[in-house]
Amino acid sequence: MAHSSMAASTAGASPRRPLAGAGTSRWGEKVIKTFLALCAAFSILVTTGIVISLVVPTVNFFGQIPLVEFLTGTTWAPAFANPSFGVLPIVVGTLIVVVTALAVAIPVGLASAIYLSEYASSRVRKVVKPALEVLEGIPTVAIGLFAFFFMRPLAERYLPFLPWDTPFSIGIAGVAVGLLIVPLVASVSEDAMRSVPAGLREGAYALGASKMRVSMRVIFPAAISGIIAAVVLGTSRAIGETMVVLIAAGAGNPNLTFNWFGSAQTMTAYIGGTATGDISQGTVVYDTIFAVGALLFTMTLTMNIIATRLVRRFREVYE
């Protein structure tokens, strides 16, 4: 019975196109697919290109300077008459900036995110969220100038007992970088918290949890993977930030120093300050730029891998 009625209905559908062959005629679909795949491949190609362009001069550099000397030396003076290639001073400079920046950006950024996501009324959020996003787009050179001409003198005026021995301060530069990445950390982690399903929030409130408890014990852990992603993004920006440190941290001392208040150079500031028109290709100084760049690349890559592992471990999967 069912069989015969099905046969009848198929017969009735004769004006339609045949099923076979329909796939081969969809060449337009294929063009689009190829185009999209090429676009996706483009960023991979660019990354590969960057790595290759770093590798050649880096290999060249390590042909002249032993890796151990580079990594353990405590004097960084590649352009001096009596050159020295110990990278530690500028690695420490970068670390001081990153740690200081995170010390500012993590508490301020996460507190703003919790406020915006859990406490603020929609009216407040409508004003503050776009303002934060605008702040993200401020040119870093402006923040560098702000740090040098405003923050550093202000710090000396109100805290005169601290050892401000030069007009530059790596620590102040770090604070400025921190301010620079606050909007990024706040905005990304707020998105993560807002995307926690409303049902979890309601479930916690229904158990008599206060707003603080709901935020800290339910929303925060549920959003932790997004929050870690926000901090990693912020850290990457802090490591890579060049302009602020170039302006506000000074040219630096060739010797290893941990002085937060004095001038110091970061890896990026070294590259940015050295890679100018009057550097000649083929010299050791030219190669140092790439060696430092490769080290920077390795550091951020390692950090990203560790962060991805962390996210996977601590993630609280909902649904």
């Binding site: 479930g203 916690a204 158990l207």
Partner: protein, 292 residues
């Protein structure tokens, strides 16, 4: 009065206004005589951003029994349920008017803390919403919040036994709550709610996301729970109300002159009465499947 909650309470005494159009004489329910009602509602109205969702509800809800709210979509039954533990506070623009007494205390009184209210009046939601934590931590969340004394292991076990889930999960308490089936997750949510030993459990269509077998388990559990708790359940399923509820309140939607749809209580009575000889024609139409 400082407007910190977005709610307004008028001191209307129950039953004095009678503004609810079409409320049948039998619509005002009273709890069984041997028990003091756990909730006394007097002309309760709820609005969202000035749009009334529910108006003029006057009824009592009895202790240690199951009260079901039934009615078509948009009749305000969930809205009313959520005003019983001030969950509506979380929705911007929600406003509850009228008198809503919980054991004689005005729930929306100026000095009443919504957080304290919710510690006594728990809630189970339509969709199971366990936290993305272990089974143990889900149940322990409430007791830790409230600061309950005693062994947490015992509290958790007691709650899980109370929700008829202990046998199934006792050997995997540290596993994620999401490893459970939907029905188990909903019973976990019930365990989570009873772990803080509330007086009342509000259930908002607790079985609508569950399969029939899980539904039966939850209904059996409710029959068990009413020995210790007062339960209010919103359900879309009339048969469920008929199966589990001691008393049933029927809500419907009234369209006013301006075309706004406002929910109202039509009548509340013993479940048997509602289903066999309802006072109002609209109840009868709904029950017999002619409407809704």
């Amino acid at each position: 009065m400082p407007d910190n909650s977005g709610h307004e309470t008028t001191g209307t005494a129950p039953g004095t206004t009678g503004t609810a159009p079409g409320t049948a004489p039998g619509g005002v329910g009273t709890a069984s005589p041997d028990e003091v009602p756990v909730f006394e509602l007097g002309d309760v109205s709820v609005s969202y951003n000035g749009n009334p969702a529910l108006a003029g509800v006057t009824m009592d809800i009895g202790a240690k029994e199951i009260t079901a709210f039934i009615g078509p979509s948009g009749c305000g039954k969930s809205t009313l349920l959520r005003s019983l533990n001030r969950m509506n506070d979380l929705i911007p623009g929600a406003r509850v008017r009228g008198e809503l007494l919980y054991k004689g205390t005005d729930l929306y009184g100026a000095s009443v803390d919504a957080v304290q209210v919710r510690k006594r009046i728990g809630m189970v939601f339509q969709k199971p919403n366990p936290f993305p934590k272990s089974i143990y931590d889900n149940v322990a969340f409430g007791p830790r919040t409230v600061g309950m004394k005693g062994s947490m292991d015992e509290i958790v076990e007691k709650a899980l036994r109370g929700a008829a889930l202990w046998e199934e999960v006792s050997d995997r308490l540290r596993e994620s709550a999401y490893s459970l089936s939907g029905g188990q997750q909903q019973r976990l949510c019930i365990a989570r709610a009873i772990a803080v030993e509330p007086d009342v459990i509000l259930m908002d269509e607790p079985c609508s996301a569950l399969d029939p077998i899980s539904t039966v388990r939850v209904e059996d559990l409710m029959a068990e729970l009413k020995n210790h708790y007062s339960i209010v359940i919103v359900t879309h399923n009339m048969h469920q109300a008929a199966r589990v509820a001691d008393r049933t309140a029927f809500f419907s939607v009234q369209v006013d002159d301006t075309g706004r749809r406002i929910g109202q209580l039509i009548e509340a009575d013993e479940t048997g009465t509602i289903f066999t000889k309802p006072t109002d024609k609209r109840t009868e139409d709904y029950i017999s499947g002619r409407v809704g």
